[in-house]
């Protein structure tokens, strides 16, 4: 399936949950905020969500800033 992650087109095989995607990307889940199709997913909410072809994700984290 095709996913758009942070503006980049990526291909993954189904089934894939958000938690599995974060694992594959080697990201620490509690340090990343996830927006799926413009909806913010809290940590509890995203646990069971499966991704589908055409989904758009934003994976966001804190960086230094003033």
């Amino acid at each position: 399936m095709d996913l758009c992650i942070n503006g980049q087109q990526k291909q993954y095989s189904e089934p894939l949950s958000i938690v599995q995607l974060l694992e594959q990307l080697e990201l620490t889940p509690e340090r990343v905020v996830v927006e799926l199709n413009r909806e913010i997913l809290t940590a509890e909410k995203r646990a069971d969500i499966q991704l589908h072809n055409g989904d758009t994700l934003e994976l966001i984290q804190f960086v230094g800033g003033g």
């Binding site: 620490t28 905020v33 994976l59 984290q61 804190f62 003033g66």
Partner: protein, 258 residues
Amino acid sequence: MDQLIIAGRSFNSRLMVGTGKFSSNQAMVAAMERSGCEIVTVALRRVDIDNPADSLLSHIDRDRYLLLPNTSGARDAEEAVRLARLARAAGCEPWVKLEVTPDPYYLLPDPIETLKAAEILVKEGFIVLPYMPADPVLAKHLEEVGCATVMPLGAPIGTNKGLRTRDHIAIIIEQAQVPVVVDAGLGAPSHAAEAMEMGADAVLVNTALADTPDPAAMGRAFRKGVEAGREAYLAGLGPQRQKAEASSPLTGFLRDNG
């Protein structure tokens, strides 16, 4: 104790520190420690999924510092509100340094979009600290919609020019019912001291610490500047005069003959 109180929460330090642009996380942490700050700002950005970096949060002791996420990068109210919501979803307390800067050259805050976003975020339960032009009328509007502070700029972000907006900041301080935090443009401890002597409640610095050879030492210098300025304000500065007024007695000069 002379504490800074924002939205009912007390802080011993009146110096807030931004975490951007440090040469390393170690330099950032050292500057934070030596500055004595208790509030640190952070930004939100996309993860580089091809090259995920070490998380900033693993270097910041959340028991010691209150994280104040900013909405930097937002060009309008909608983008700022989105960033604030994302920060809250990341598990932060609902504090936000609201920044709306559509112009990339001077990074000056958009007063209209800032006010719009502030109104929305306050209604959603955020503690809103808005970065703003040093405009006393806007400061009153932001206060009226429920902002926890106002944060007028001293000079454009990262310029180190000091209190170029001094006269307007003085009016904001005179009229404000919420803490006034002078943010942006302060480049030297003397600038911070000057703001505090005028009666500002706090200052926020980033570039002034990050862009020096020794951020830790500069953190300590700013701490002293802020403390000196605050103490001078509380002591009460003497009046300025046009003519000299002698400090030594004007009698008993040796030249007198009797």
